[in-house]
Amino acid sequence: MCDIIWCKKEIDGKKCNTVNYLDPYCFWNWEGKVNCAECKTVYYIHMIQGFMYRGPEEVDEKPDTSPLYADKPLEGYTNYLPGIEGRTRPYECLPRDIYLGVADMVKFSARGRPVRGWRPQPPSAGIAGSFGFEWDIQKLTPEVWEEYQQKIAKGEVGEW
C-alpha cells in the first residue's frame, strides 16, 4: 500500500484512533476485508495501484486478512506487533523448531550472556517481533535475570 486505515470507530464514546498499516507488497492491488487491530472493526477496501479505490467501508463480516502492524500515535504510539492472533498477521521469520511447533527457548549466547531477543518471545513481542536497542533484562524478564545471576555464580559466563 500504500495506505493506512486510521480507525475512527467510536467505542464506549471514545474514538479507536488506531493506525493500521497496510504494507505495500500485499495491498498494492488488493480487494477484500481487513480488520482494525485494536477494535477489530472490519473494513472493506479495494486498492488499485496503491490507491484506495473504494473504502474503507465498515462491514459486518469476517476479515480476509489483518494488517501486519498497527499503532496508536495519539496514545504514546502504543502498538500491535506482527503476529498477534486476531489482531495482526503472522510474520514467519522463524527457526525451524518453531515451524514444526516445538518451541525452543534460547536465553543465553555461546558465551553464557543473555541474548537480547528470546525465542519464543513474550506475547507482547508477537511471533517474530524484535525489541528496541535497549533490552532491560532485569526489569522485563526477572526470571531470566535470576538464571543469569546463577550462571555467573557458577562461573558459566565467559569473559570474551
Partner: protein
C-alpha cells in the same frame, strides 16, 4: 548511423528484421557532452581528477594498451554450462588466448534461446547457422575449435593441446575426463605446469557427487542455488505476499551460481599462475563449485543460523539490516531509497513531509523510530515503508528521484533493461556500447567492467564465434597440423 527508410508493417513477421541495433538506432538520445560532465566534476573540486580519469580510463583507449595476460594459453572445455564460459571470458578479456573446444556437433548451449524462440537468435551471415544470445554473449575473445574427445585420435590431439596450455578450464560431470584418460592426473604427467580448473555444481568428490543421475552428476546450475539456500532466501516472504501470489522462493534470472563459480575459478587460476611462475613452477588442480562459491557471497545467513537457529526470512525489496533501505512500488515501477543514519533518515522524512504532512506525525514523532538501531525492527520497516509508499504511489520514478536528490538522498529508480541501455551515465562512459562482428552484425552489449584500467585494461575484441571457425588456424598454430590433416580428421568425425 542507421539509414532512414520506409517500412511497411503488416504482421509480426515484418517487425523481426527491425530488431537489430543496425536498424533501430542506439543510443536513441546522445550522451551528455563532455563540457556538461566537467561541471559535475567541478562541483566536488574534482575537475582535474575527473579529467585524468576520462583521459586514461575510457574503454576506447584500451585498444592501444597492452594486455595483462598476453601469451597465456587457455583451453576451455564444457557443455551446456556457463561457469567455464564466464571463467574463460574473464581471462580472455584480460588478454589470454582461449580455445573453446566443442564436440563436432557443437555445444547445445548454442541453441539455447528464451522460450525456444528462434527469432531471438542471431544468424551467422556466412553459414546461416543460428546461435543463441547466451552463447554469443559469453564467447568473448574466444576461438572456437571442434574435437571429438571420445575417439582415440581425438584423445591424442587433446593431450597435445594440453601439453601446450597454461590453463585448462573444464566443466564436465565429475570424473568424466579422468575416465577418458584426459583428467588432471593424466595431463599433469605430460604437462606438470598445467593449471587445471574444474568447475562443477556440487563437487567432483563427496557422497552427493553423482546424486542426481546414475549417469553422473547433472551439473545443472539450479541445484547449486537450491542447495545453498540462495533460492530460499530470494523473493518475497509469504507473510507479505501469500504463497502462490509472489511470496515464493525465487531463482535468479540468470544462472547465477554458474557465474559466481566462473568468477571464483578465474580468481583461483590467477593465484595458481602467480604461485607457479613466482615460486614453484608447478601447476595444480583447482575445484570450484557453484553451490559453494555462491554460498560464499550469501553474507550472514549461515552465521545467523549457527548463532540461534534463525532461518533468514525472505524480505523481498526490503533490506533487513537497514531502514530506510528498500525498493517499493511507485506509479510507473519501483523506487529504491537508501539511508540509515539519522542524517539521511530525517532528510528522507523532510522530503516526504513536504507532500505528506502525516509522515512527520507517524514516523518522525514516533519515539521508537528515533533510535537508529531500533528502527531496523520488522514492525518499524512495515510502518516506515507503508507510509513511504503512500507518498510514492502518487509519482513516477523520475519525480521521486528528483525530489529525493534535492535533499541529497541516495535514491534511484529500478531500471528496465531498455532504460539501462539509455542511462546517460552508461552511455557516456560508455559501458553500454555496440560491437560489430562479421558474423552476427551489430550487437548491443556491455563492455568488460574491467575495461577501466590505466595500464592493462581488459577489453572485448569480439563476441560470438561460429562453430569450428578457428580449426585450421589454431591446429596449425598449436600443433603444426596442416589444412589437409585437419580436413581428413574432420571427414573422420574427429574434428
Amino acid at each position: 548511423m542507421a539509414e532512414i527508410r520506409d517500412v511497411e508493417i503488416n504482421s509480426r513477421e515484418d517487425t523481426l528484421p527491425l530488431m537489430s541495433p543496425e536498424v533501430r538506432p542506439w543510443p536513441v538520445t546522445p550522451p551528455p557532452p563532455r563540457e556538461e560532465v566537467s561541471k559535475v566534476y567541478a562541483k566536488r573540486n574534482a575537475a582535474k581528477f575527473g579529467e585524468w580519469c576520462e583521459d586514461n580510463l575510457r574503454f576506447e583507449y584500451s585498444f592501444g594498451k597492452p594486455e595483462a595476460l598476453q601469451g597465456l594459453k587457455v583451453l576451455n572445455m564444457g557443455l551446456y554450462r556457463m561457469g567455464n564460459k564466464f571463467c574463460s571470458s574473464l581471462l580472455a578479456e584480460a588478454g589470454a588466448e582461449v580455445l573453446n573446444i566443442e564436440p563436432p556437433e557443437g555445444d547445445p548451449l548454442r541453441k539455447l534461446t528464451p522460450f525456444g524462440r528462434e527469432e531471438l537468435m542471431l544468424e551467422d551471415r556466412e553459414t546461416g547457422e543460428k546461435c543463441g544470445m547466451d552463447f554469443i554473449h559469453e564467447m568473448r575473445n574466444k576461438f572456437s575449435i571442434t574435437l571429438n574427445i571420445e575417439t582415440d585420435e581425438g584423445k591424442e590431439i587433446y593431450k597435445k593441446l594440453a601439453a601446450h596450455a597454461d590453463v585448462l578450464i573444464e566443466e564436465y560431470p565429475p570424473g568424466y575426463m579422468d575416465e577418458l584418460g584426459l583428467g588432471y592426473r593424466q595431463l599433469a604427467e605430460i604437462n606438470p605446469k598445467l593449471v587445471y580448473c574444474w568447475i562443477g555444481v556440487r563437487g567432483s568428490w563427496g557422497p552427493y557427487k553423482d546424486k542426481v543421475s546414475k549417469f553422473g552428476q547433472w551439473t545443472l546450475e539450479p541445484f547449486g542455488g537450491c542447495a545453498n539456500s540462495f533460492v530460499h532466501n530470494t523473493g518475497f516472504p509469504q507473510d507479505q505476499l501469500p504463497r502462490g501470489k509472489g511470496g515464493d522462493p525465487t531463482r535468479s534470472g540468470v544462472w547465477f551460481a554458474d557465474y559466481v563459480a566462473g568468477e571464483q575459478g578465474a580468481c583461483s587460476i590467477m593465484a595458481a599462475i602467480y604461485w607457479r611462475n613466482k615460486f614453484s613452477g608447478e601447476g595444480q588442480f583447482i575445484e570450484v563449485t557453484g553451490s559453494e562459491t555462491q554460498m560464499d557471497i550469501l553474507d550472514f545467513d549461515i552465521g545467523w543460523y549457527g548463532f540461534n537457529k534463525s532461518i533468514k526470512a525472505r524480505t523481498g525489496g526490503w533490506d533487513p539490516n537497514l531502514n530506510q533501505y528498500e525498493w517499493n512500488p511507485c506509479k510507473d515501477g519501483y523506487m529504491m531509497i537508501g539511508g540509515q543514519t539519522d542524517r539521511l533518515w530525517y532528510r528522507i522524512g523532510q522530503c516526504i513531509e513536504r507532500d505528506d504532512i502525516q509522515f512527520g506525525r507517524l514516523i518522525h514523532e514516533d519515539p521508537f523510530l528515533k533510535e537508529m538501531g531500533a528502527r531496523n525492527a520488522l514492525q518499524a520497516l512495515i510502518k516506515t515503508y507503508t507510509v513511504t509508499t503512500r507518498w510514492l504511489r502518487d509519482m513516477n520514478r523520475i519525480e521521486a528521484e528528483q525530489k529525493l536528490l534535492e535533499y541529497e538522498i541516495a535514491a534511484g529508480p529500478v531500471l528496465f533493461i531498455d532504460e539501462v541501455s539509455e542511462f546517460p551515465h552508461f552511455k557516456y562512459r560508455p559501458w553500454v556500447c555496440t560491437i560489430d562482428s562479421d558474423q552476427y552484425g551489430t550487437v548491443l552489449y556491455s563492455t568488460s567492467p574491467n575495461s577501466f584500467q590505466y595500464r592493462t585494461p581488459h577489453r572485448v575484441k569480439w563476441i560470438g564465434r561460429p562453430l569450428g571457425k578457428d580449426n585450421f588456424l589454431k591446429y596449425l598454430n598449436w600443433l603444426g597440423m596442416g589444412q589437409n590433416v585437419v580436413r581428413e580428421l574432420k571427414s573422420k568425425g574427429v574434428i
